[in-house]
Amino acid sequence: MLVKNSKTDDTENETEKLHETLQEIKDQEGIIGYILRGSKSASIDLKDPTKIIDYAVLSSTTFDTAQEMTEALQMGEIDTIIVESEETKLLSMTTNNHRLSIFMEKSVDHNKLYKRLK
């Protein structure tokens, strides 16, 4: 008899759903791409593949920097991180035990994306 682990199924379903949502988001205007990193796998989808390494390093550094700063200032667990340059911004967050970074043009409303992914 096969006994299904319902918790694992739920997690897998949520991850699948997350991938679907990210695919929809990726097609929105102003979205440059995303990096999703779990404990065992990672998916990267960027419009410009030459930037994969730089963006992956930035995504990872963003989480590390935020962690160090929130510890130093006792801000508690992180909800969202935003990194902004003149024209581009990055929304980083943890969702469904995955570290997600979405790269976008500055004009994109990141709050809407956050609400969708929360």
Partner: protein
């Protein structure tokens, strides 16, 4: 305005801002080279160092998307906003429910205005006092007189250090050497009201060096209506 007075002015401003906006838990400013200018009483040096060091690493990696302008963290117990203002970075850690409009006003209006004002004070001060020199005219004659005036090396060196108020402010804050280029042109004003801008060189005649003199080509002396022995006001041309 030296580093201490600049820091005191900024510190006073930050203290007043904190009184007006009690949602601010921590605040401090550091320069793009990492020198911490000031912080509020609630933020110890170690915390400021930790935040600044963590940021340096991110700033480098963020070049992948351009020059980093803002970094924001929303945490369970509070928010952090790190904003680039001119060549400085303002760190504001606020309580969870801090008014976003207030934080925006501080980072986009109040602090930039204060920094700009401090720089303009310094600019006025410099223009009116330290850069202008009263020098005695000596005429340059002959075929090789050229069209440049000649001034003591020491004066040119002093101007090189002080001529750009913004650079001077930064140097004062950071205690780092001011690396701007040398002065290439000067503004000459006579007490009769005539003025001219012309190229400048170091005095090459050993007999005239160190005598607070300016050697001016004869042709220019005529147009400025001055002659040997007259006093003129000289400052670096911006």
């Amino acid at each position: 305005m030296n580093r201490d007075s600049y820091a005191i002015a900024l510190n006073s401003a930050m203290t007043e801002i904190q009184k007006a906006y009690p949602d601010i838990n921590n605040s401090f400013i550091f320069t793009k080279t990492g020198t911490i200018i000031n912080g509020n009483k609630e933020t110890d040096q170690q915390t400021m160092n930790n935040v600044q060091e963590a940021f340096e690493n991110l700033k480098e990696k963020a070049k992948a998307i351009g020059d980093l302008k803002r970094f924001k963290i929303t945490g369970k117990n509070g928010n952090l906003t790190l904003s680039k203002i001119n060549d400085m970075y303002l760190v504001l850690a606020t309580s969870k429910n801090a008014d976003k409009a207030h934080v925006y006003a501080i980072t986009h209006v109040i602090i930039p205005t204060i920094i700009k004002t401090l720089e303009s004070f310094d600019s006025t001060h410099l223009q009116s006092t330290s850069t202008q020199k009263k020098l005695v005219v000596d005429t340059l004659t002959g075929f090789f007189a050229g069209d440049s005036v000649q001034i003591d090396t020491e004066i040119l060196t002093e101007w090189t250090k002080n001529s750009d108020p913004r650079a001077r402010v930064k140097a004062a804050i950071t205690r780092e050497p001011d690396m701007q280029d040398g002065v290439s042109q000067v503004h000459i004003e006579t007490f009769g009201g005539n003025a001219a801008v012309c190229k400048v060189k170091e005095i090459d005649d050993q007999n005239v060096k160190g005598k607070n003199m300016i050697r001016i080509p004869e042709k220019l002396c005529k147009s400025l209506e001055i002659s040997k022995g007259d006093l003129v006001k000289v400052s670096p041309a911006v």
